[in-house]
């Protein structure tokens, strides 16, 4: 029977990890909820950002926190560009899933081509820092990811609730024709959302790089967890993915205390299947 300390430590790790899940899930959920696109390439961009962070930190000696600041704006514009390009073709939502699948494979191959399939790890002093409260360890990197996730969720929530822009976004997702009738420029705003989602992917990627060892095909194993997070938390809901992420993170962590860690993916994928069966459609 595992000790109480071990359980609490696992739960805490689960909470912190859940924050990261929520951060990555937010980007996916926003584009699904507001753009109607299931963007598989979100994962590819997270990993691209992660690998770029590795490159910048290990090879160029730049502080990872700097990456947190400079990557999102760059990815923002990449996201806008891609969305603009794809929009000219008017493809069905399902085909956009296939298309982003293709994009994911391209990015994954690109990553493997440049950085090989070997495992790599970003080296930074932050990696060793950890706080300790009542015997429970709070590693710096994971805690930082969690705090960023919370800040982002709060920010998005405030914008959605209190600014005209946020309200316009919500209006577009509820009734695009009526939003247009009142002068809301749906096309421009959609571009902005696409850019935001990619920027969020960039942010998540830097955090992933600081916490994990990287390997190109790993991006596919995140798919189950993040989709479960998004479906549980609700599309277009700023806090939903965060809360769902924490729930899933804790369940995974606690499960791993009792059984072999390689069973962990089953928790999220099974949850995803259950959700798809019992609560399909827009949540």
């Amino acid at each position: 029977m595992p000790s109480l300390n071990l359980l609490i430590q696992s739960a805490v790790s689960g909470v912190l990890l859940g924050g990261l899940y929520g951060l990555i899930g937010l980007g996916l959920g926003l584009s699904w909820g507001f753009l109607g696109q299931i963007n598989l390439s979100h994962f590819a961009f997270v990993f691209l950002s992660a690998y770029l962070s590795f490159e910048f930190v290990n090879k160029l000696g730049i502080d990872p926190l700097v990456c947190l600041i400079i990557f999102p704006p760059i990815f923002f514009f990449i996201g806008i560009f891609l969305h603009w390009l794809i929009r000219r073709f008017r493809i069905t939502p399902f085909n956009s899933l296939l298309l982003t699948f293709g994009l994911t494979v391209i990015i994954e191959s690109f990553i493997q081509w440049i950085w090989t399939a070997d495992f790599v790890k970003l080296q930074t002093t932050y990696g060793d820092k950890k706080a300790s409260i009542a015997g429970i360890y709070l590693p710096f990197t994971e805690s930082m990811a969690f705090i960023i996730a919370v800040l982002v969720a709060v920010l998005v929530h405030l914008v959605m609730k209190y600014t005209d822009l946020g309200k316009a976004v919500r209006a577009i997702s509820q009734d695009p024709k009526m939003a247009t009738a009142f002068g809301i420029p749906q096309a421009k705003i959609s571009l902005g959302i696409a850019g935001l989602c990619t920027a969020l992917a960039a942010l998540g990627g830097v955090c992933v790089a600081m916490i994990y060892t990287l390997n190109p095909s790993q991006m596919y194993s995140w798919i189950g967890v993040i989709f479960a997070v998004v479906m549980l938390g609700g599309l277009g809901n700023p806090f939903g993915p965060l809360i769902a992420g924490v729930v899933i993170g804790v369940s995974e962590a606690v499960t791993m205390v009792f059984v072999n860690p390689s069973w962990a993916p089953i928790v999220s994928f099974s949850l995803l299947i259950a959700l798809l069966l019992f609560r399909p459609g827009k949540l």
Binding site: R170, K177, M178, T180, G183
Partner: protein, 236 residues
């Protein structure tokens, strides 16, 4: 101020409007009546910019509307109160009204417009933070009209405002519409409820199967044989 000449509009693969010409002068309250499937909603949506014209021309305030993007219609002064309200149902009354004044020129006058709308529909003051989807049909209609007024339009379009409302509420609604018109906003009203519409309008058009089959002063139209035939199929 609004002049439609021989317009044709499609609805999917079908032609919904074949050859419609009508005009609204500044300050007028004009109604368009006709049975179901006559094309009334298609007509209103075309004027609001949501349905493109496949033929004919539309001129608003001396501007040819051809090629104008849908989201620019509001800025030019046309506001829509659509069929079955179509509020942003998950948002509150206040948020709906705020969105009505999204465009910059309306946003500048937002506080003022808000007060005006709440004076017109006092019951909304208590409901201001309530989720609009939870209001009754009549109250939702008030919010829909209020939302359009927040856009500070020069032409207000209303699509079957009486639909699904109890008779007593319909009377209040039409009083409000009359009041709005008396303050200088031109109104184009599309209605299935002929008597009420022709009562507040000065002029009217009868639309049947995508064409105008009669037009004239409101009083003349009410008892005309064309209306009887269009609605009830009765020939004399």
């Amino acid at each position: 101020m609004l002049n439609l000449k021989n317009i044709q509009v499609s609805y999917g693969p079908a032609k919904a409007l074949w050859d419609v010409s009508l005009h609204v002068n500044e300050g007028e309250l004009v109604c368009v009546v006709g049975p179901n499937a006559a094309g009334k909603t298609t007509l209103i949506n075309a004027i609001a910019g949501l349905n493109p014209l496949v033929g004919g021309s539309m001129v608003f305030n001396e501007k040819d509307m051809k090629g104008v993007a849908p989201h620019e219609f509001c800025n030019l002064g046309i506001a829509l109160v659509p069929e079955s309200r179509r509020l942003f149902v998950e948002m509150s009354v206040l948020e709906n009204l705020e969105l009505g004044s999204y465009i910059p020129r309306a946003k500048a006058l937002r506080q003022q417009s808000l007060e005006m709308v709440l004076e017109l529909f006092p019951i909304l003051k208590q409901k201001i933070n309530q989720v609009s989807g939870s209001l009754s049909g009549g109250q939702q209609q008030m919010v829909a009209i209020g939302r359009a007024l927040m856009a500070k339009p020069s032409l207000l379009l209303l699509d079957e405002p009486s639909l699904g409302l109890a008779p007593a509420i319909v009377i209040d609604m039409f009083d409000a519409i009359k009041k709005v018109n008396s303050e200088g906003i031109s109104v184009l009203l599309v209605e299935q409820n002929v008597s009420m519409a022709l009562e507040i309008a000065s002029r009217g058009y009868v639309l049947e199967e995508g064409r105008v089959v009669a037009e004239g002063a409101a009083n003349d139209l009410l008892n005309s044989p064309e209306i009887q035939k269009a609605y009830l199929g009765i020939h004399d």
